[in-house]
Symmetry: C2
Subunit: 434 residues, 2 copies
């Protein structure tokens, strides 16, 4: 079969690694970036995109979300985490099935593609249905099954079995766009036995681990009461931590725990909008960055955010660090761009494939239109306009694995209106089941 080629002309490239001076042409051959230079010939190229008024950057990487929960957007707000979870989210989740999760994941995929995210890391249930949505949408994903055993041995075995089945059936499928991780839910919902078993299986299989840690003060208190240790101390003490563990939230950390994270090269997924909206607290991100810890970004589920816009999330992250430290120089726009791209790739162990614009890497690329009021003037620092002025709606082209998923704001792989209709129907049915 002949190569499939796309040539992007005259793009200003914003990249977290190599700094390309001036405008460049970029050639995509099949799933890869094959050339970046001054003037690439358009002869024999299948498609040419004019990016003269556009900024080209790596597709954003959302390292912590629950995509099917997009169905629960706006279902319950302005509530405590307990009321939100116990009285609203869990009763709805009790009636979920694979079809509903598929509908929610497709709705979320539309939002991700439209706002420039090409890779997401998910933890939820009915993950094979989420994989189906990933396969169809053309997006890239790391999927983990959210394992909860509350100390029950039968449940533990079944949960691990479920995550392993997901691995067997889905890992490296969809042209390699899907990877599967373990998803032990958290140190307070997964037993010590479960966590130790996951560690052992991770070492055997090479599967990485996605977990929630230290989200709320209550969690710190509960884990401390039960284990006599704070969450990261406890996880360290049972040998659970390592460079293959990505921890979401990490709001309440003391200096010893930051040292534990650093020592184990644990990866962080920062979720500022969710932490603010649920009043969980402010994660000490600038301190983590000072310690050269790998901090990536995630939106958490749309039900506690309430959107999946990674640019908005990065602006919020930056502004929140500045005001909470009273230092306007922390978490600069360049650092935020890195957090949303290459750090996400490192967190997921995919830094050889994605997270930056480099020859040989996967063609996960977005174009942002600069010809809009909120992006002008555009003669100063590009990263500033992206992080502080833009939002996801400024993205006009999204390419993943060399495939165009959106061009000029029109989706190519998914039928938006059909997905909206199904998502509306799904949430109505779920509400009726309560």
């Amino acid at each position: 079969m002949a190569d499939n080629t796309i040539l992007i002309k005259n793009a200003l490239i914003l990249n977290p690694t190599v700094n390309y001076q001036g405008k460049k042409d970029l050639l995509i051959k099949n799933d890869l970036i094959s050339e970046i230079s001054e003037d690439i010939s358009g002869e024999n190229v299948d498609k040419i995109i004019d990016a003269s008024d556009k900024i080209l950057l790596p597709g954003f990487i959302n390292t912590h979300t629950h995509l099917s929960m997009t169905l629960f957007r706006g279902l319950a707000d302005d509530l405590s985490l307990d009321e939100w979870l116990n009285d609203n989210i869990w009763p709805m989740e009790a009636n979920l099935n694979g079809d509903y999760c598929y509908s929610g994941a497709l709705l979320g995929a539309v939002e991700l593609i439209k706002s420039g995210t090409t890779t997401f890391s998910d933890m939820y249930f009915y993950m094979e249905d989420v994989a189906k949505a990933v396969e169809e949408s053309g997006i890239r994903a790391v999927l983990s099954y959210g394992m909860i055993d509350f100390g029950d041995e039968e449940k533990r075995k079944a949960e691990i079995e479920e995550n392993m089945t997901l691995f067997k059936n889905c890992h490296d499928t969809a042209d390699g766009r899907i990877k599967v991780f373990f998803g032990p839910h958290s140190p307070y919902t997964a037993s010590e036995e479960l966590l130790k078993e996951v560690r052992k299986l991770a070492d055997e299989t090479g599967m990485k681990i996605h977990i929630h840690v230290s989200e709320t003060q209550k969690e710190i208190n509960d884990v401390s009461a039960e284990k006599g240790l704070r969450p990261f101390e406890y996880l360290d003490s049972i040998g659970f931590l390592g460079p293959d563990v990505i921890c979401a939230h990490c709001v309440w950390l003391n200096d010893d725990e930051i040292e534990i994270i650093k020592k184990n090269d644990v990866k962080i997924s920062h979720n500022p909008c969710s932490n603010m909206k649920l009043a969980s607290g402010i994660a000490p991100i600038s301190k983590l960055l000072e310690n050269d810890i790998c901090v990536s970004i995630g939106t958490d589920g749309a039900s506690s955010n309430n959107n999946l816009d990674l640019i908005e999330e990065l602006k919020t992250a930056s502004l929140l660090q500045k005001v909470s430290t009273l230092d306007p120089k922390v978490l600069t726009s360049d650092e935020a761009i890195a957090m949303g791209t290459i750090n996400g790739a490192k967190a997921l162990g995919l830094e050889d494939e994605i997270g930056s614009i480099e020859v040989g890497k996967k063609a996960d690329i977005i174009l942002i239109d600069t010809n809009n009021a909120n992006m002008i003037p555009d003669s100063s620092k590009i990263s500033s306009n992206i992080i502080y002025s833009a939002n996801g709606s400024n993205v006009d082209t999204t390419i993943c694995n060399g495939q165009i998923l959106m061009e000029n704001k029109k989706l190519t792989t998914l039928d938006e209106q059909e997905i909206y209709k199904k998502a509306r129907k799904a949430i109505e049915e779920l509400k009726a089941l309560l």
Copy 2:
């Protein structure tokens, strides 16, 4: 002349005052809302808008900005307030002229209209040029000239003269869309004599007052050192405060000052993105709301934000209060909607004309398209989807004073591309003058 009529059919109305149940038709006659009911006939109506998939709400009111500074978007970021102002903004401002301010104001007006703001309150220089931009764009504005005397008597007289001339030339012009306020810059840049003279002239003329107060800790320290009183104590002691004073920022307030604000019925403009970005601090908004103080919202200039998206500003306001109080129930989405609409109208003394959807009020109306991924599902609380999920790009129609300024995302009064071109040229010229 015959009446000009616009009929909006089948709209779901989100309103901070009267609660309309179900979908309604709304009739605009000239500049006013003339009827809201179940089924209004389209016969003899000049234009009909189908709002079946849309949410109708009052145009947003931005009570503190510097519109011409939109030219300085992205000029300097990740700096301390001093470096930002002294080394970057002030040197650029030294070369401003009326043409540049006009270009910047038009650029800002495009952004405001596109993101659903119909009224802004401005404080800057070359305000007659800003008035020209307001006149042409069809937006509504309260304009004040930023008076700074640093205790110099000649300068003081000239500054007051300038603000009074603006009043004489522009107040109640543009079909009543422009009002003029006094704009003493702040308690640390305007002398006690200037503030007292403004108070006297405000009482004589009925002009209201727009001022920056208590933005940074440095200001508190400086005013305390000079006056022996904190800023609000000082302003109260010289009889400056009253219900006609709108104070921007108000970050650093102790309980006595909150009491002073309440006693004087002073109006507040909260500017969370700017306060976060410049690391000024977190204003105690939930405490002000508990005290029934009128809190409205402003973006500040685009140079410290870096956009003019009021929906983003309201989300940030809500999330910041939740996390800083560790209480997820404060600043709900309904309160945020009020902050962005009716409270803004009250702050500007325009609550009889704008800020809510009611028969007899000015037709300042926006429509938000619900048929977009980030707005689905849309069956729960409307205000939640607007505040927590949407951003300005979801606005598809903007009407001010009965005139359509944008329909289906297309501007009707302004030439976007021409304005972008001029704004880009202006900033290049200003940079070359440094």
